[in-house]
């Protein structure tokens, strides 16, 4: 697990403002990827139903781990190794119900550290 010194994070802060609608995706992955601890998963535990997806891109913009990316007209869960299993995306996609969500197989996936 690589850890970032704060000055790098401050660089990001300088660029960011409260109303920055472009702060998502790769910029989120850059932050989260520095510290998140995920045990390897076999299972693709989140899937986008490409028939249902209307391409609104809300999951891409709002996922707190930046896991989604547009794949042409529809969204794709492409950065599953960063997923922290919070479940936000199934609520974000409340209108189209295009996200098929479950946990990864037991003993794999995100590991929380407190101490």
């Amino acid at each position: 697990m690589t850890k970032a010194r704060v000055p790098e994070c401050f660089d990001l802060i300088d660029k960011a403002v409260l109303d920055d609608k472009d702060f998502y995706g790769a910029r989120v992955r850059e932050i989260v990827g520095k510290v998140i601890d995920v045990a390897p998963k076999q299972m693709e535990h989140i899937k986008v139903d490409t028939k249902r997806c209307n391409g609104c891109g809300l999951c891409v913009k709002l996922c707190p781990c930046g896991c989604y990316e547009m794949d042409g007209r529809v969204a794709a869960w492409r950065y599953g190794e960063l997923c922290c299993e919070c479940g936000s995306c199934q609520y974000i996609c409340y209108q189209t119900h295009a996200i098929d969500w479950t946990y990864p197989e037991g003993g794999s996936g995100m590991i929380m550290h407190y101490s």
Partner: protein, 490 residues
């Protein structure tokens, strides 16, 4: 049958064959508890005391590995549920007592809230901090050491086993293995797969902060400060015995209901571990409306001068994210039982909408569900009609009573359209709500006000608690309000 009508999610089981001979073959266990958090361990322990053979399933490699939030436990509830042995758990520290606060607005976006907090073992606030990955592990292992309890980790329960009548009689785990028991307790957390599978949970309700319903996303950044810096950057606090406190949380920033949107953040400094902890909570509904990632809010909060000062030279060491589900439009889960199933804790949305606190509710409900499971075994009746006493029980307890008062407070907060538009109405709403909210908990020795302290850590409604919690008598209300928010707003 009534159950079959509403059991449509059970009908599609991904092709897993049903075990139909369960009654002939006998059950593997008397009770399967899914989840080894506060609700699951409480249920397993209660069932073990009644002599049941219990299987407790946990999806992490150990209990607490997947825990996403909640680092404070309420000790009187812990002692009631787990017994005095709980004193040996790896507690980090006692809870701070709030002595006073000041509020400084930051342009029109929010406010700094500076709190004077000190540590004391005071029965008014008998809470303990824990690291959930340590404490949950300890508690689950303690419960697993009790007679009849088996703890199986690294196992996700994905579906139910049903008998020929469609009644739940076990769970299907990761590899398709079927484990049977006449009754299942689903304590599998806020994203409960089983409550959804049973048709007791709606996935696509995003709620509304104005009615204090629906899911909220919380993210947290953790920073490690150079050694000793935590203490230097906090106010130095002394305990009543003259010793320095070992753990102190000092909010450097709290607030942020900009433009009537539901989001709040706070930054704490923890001197004992030289840690700075920054959190943002936001209502999913508002996030969807704004189309702004929650990290943008966090970046803004961290860029505030006070917070930059607190973070200078710190190392970014942790990130986590979780959902708090503030119930549906009717409050907690409308129904928490079926034939052979009881749903407990966050899985049943038992989250106090004012305090953002659900561990004590999960523990109480878990213990009660375990006892009902034992009664069901004694009577040989696992029907929905029999298990309804679980639902009746928790609705009559502090959990059910808490649906009313705290929700009124939360609504008052949002109805006033932000603190800066209507500070006085908000405060009036808080106190009205507090007076209505007679039942924070049925536990002995717990004054209503003390419980409110939790939200300092909790987040969203924390500000309301900060106003209310120092009050030990109604006579002080006017004085504190006079010195606090109202004065600033006027």
């Amino acid at each position: 049958m009534a159950v079959m009508k509403e059991a449509s999610p059970l009908a599609s089981n991904g092709g897993i064959p049903r075990r139909k001979d369960v009654r002939m073959a006998g059950y593997d266990y008397d009770l399967i508890v899914v989840g080894a958090g506060p609700g699951g361990t409480a249920a397993s322990l209660a069932a073990s005391k009644a002599g049941l053979k219990v299987l407790m399933l946990e999806r992490g490699e150990y209990a607490g590995q997947k825990n996403m939030s909640g680092s404070v436990f309420f000790m009187p509830m812990m002692r009631e549920v787990y017994g005095e042995q709980i004193g040996d758990a790896p507690w980090v520290d006692t809870y701070p007592i709030l002595e006073g606060f000041s509020v400084e607005p930051i342009d029109d976006k929010g406010f700094y809230l500076k709190a004077d907090i000190h540590m004391d073992n005071n029965e008014l606030a008998d809470f303990k901090f824990i690291f959930r990955d340590e404490a949950d592990k300890w508690i689950a292992e303690y419960v697993a050491s009790q007679p009849g309890v088996t703890l199986r980790c690294s196992t996700v329960a994905r579906d139910f086993v049903t008998d020929e009548e469609g009644k739940i009689c076990g769970v299907v785990v990761d590899d398709g293995e079927q484990i049977t028991a006449p009754v299942v307790i689903a304590a599998d957390g806020v994203n409960s797969l089983l409550a959804r599978r049973a048709g007791l949970k709606r996935d696509h309700y995003i709620g509304n902060p104005r009615t204090a319903t629906g899911p909220t996303i919380c993210i947290r950044y953790v920073y490690k400060l150079p050694e000793g810096e935590g203490l230097r950057r906090s106010h130095v606090m002394e305990l009543s015995d003259g010793k320095l406190h070992e753990w102190m949380c000092e909010p450097a920033y709290m607030g942020g209901m900009d433009n009537h949107h539901g989001w709040v953040g706070h930054v704490y400094t923890n001197p004992k571990h030289d840690i700075v902890d920054a959190s943002i909570y936001e209502w999913v509904g508002d996030m969807v409306k704004d189309e702004k990632n929650i990290h943008a809010r966090m970046q803004w909060m961290l860029s505030l001068p006070e917070n930059r000062k607190a973070l200078e030279g710190a190392e970014f060491v942790g990130f986590d994210c979780h959902i708090l589900n503030f119930c549906n439009e009717e409050g907690y889960a409308t129904k928490t039982y079926k034939d052979g199933l009881m749903v407990v804790g966050d899985a049943a949305m038992m989250l106090n909408p004012f305090e953002n606190f659900g561990a004590d509710a999960a523990q109480w409900a878990g213990k009660f569900a375990g006892e009902v499971a034992a009664k069901a075994k004694a009577c040989g009746d696992y029907s929905a009609e029999f298990l309804k006493q679980y639902e009746d029980g928790w609705r009559a307890s502090f959990i059910g009573k808490n649906e009313g008062g705290p929700r009124k407070i939360a609504r008052a907060l949002w109805e006033s359209q932000g603190l800066f538009d209507g500070g006085k109405d908000v405060i009036r709403g808080f106190f009205r709500g507090k007076l209505d909210s007679v039942a924070y908990c049925d536990m002995p020795k717990q004054p209503v006000m003390a419980k409110g302290l939790l939200s300092i850590v909790g987040g969203l409604a924390g500000f309301a608690d900060l106003i209310c919690s120092p009050l030990k008598g109604a006579g002080k209300i006017g004085k504190l309000v006079g010195e606090g928010l109202v004065k600033k707003n006027d």
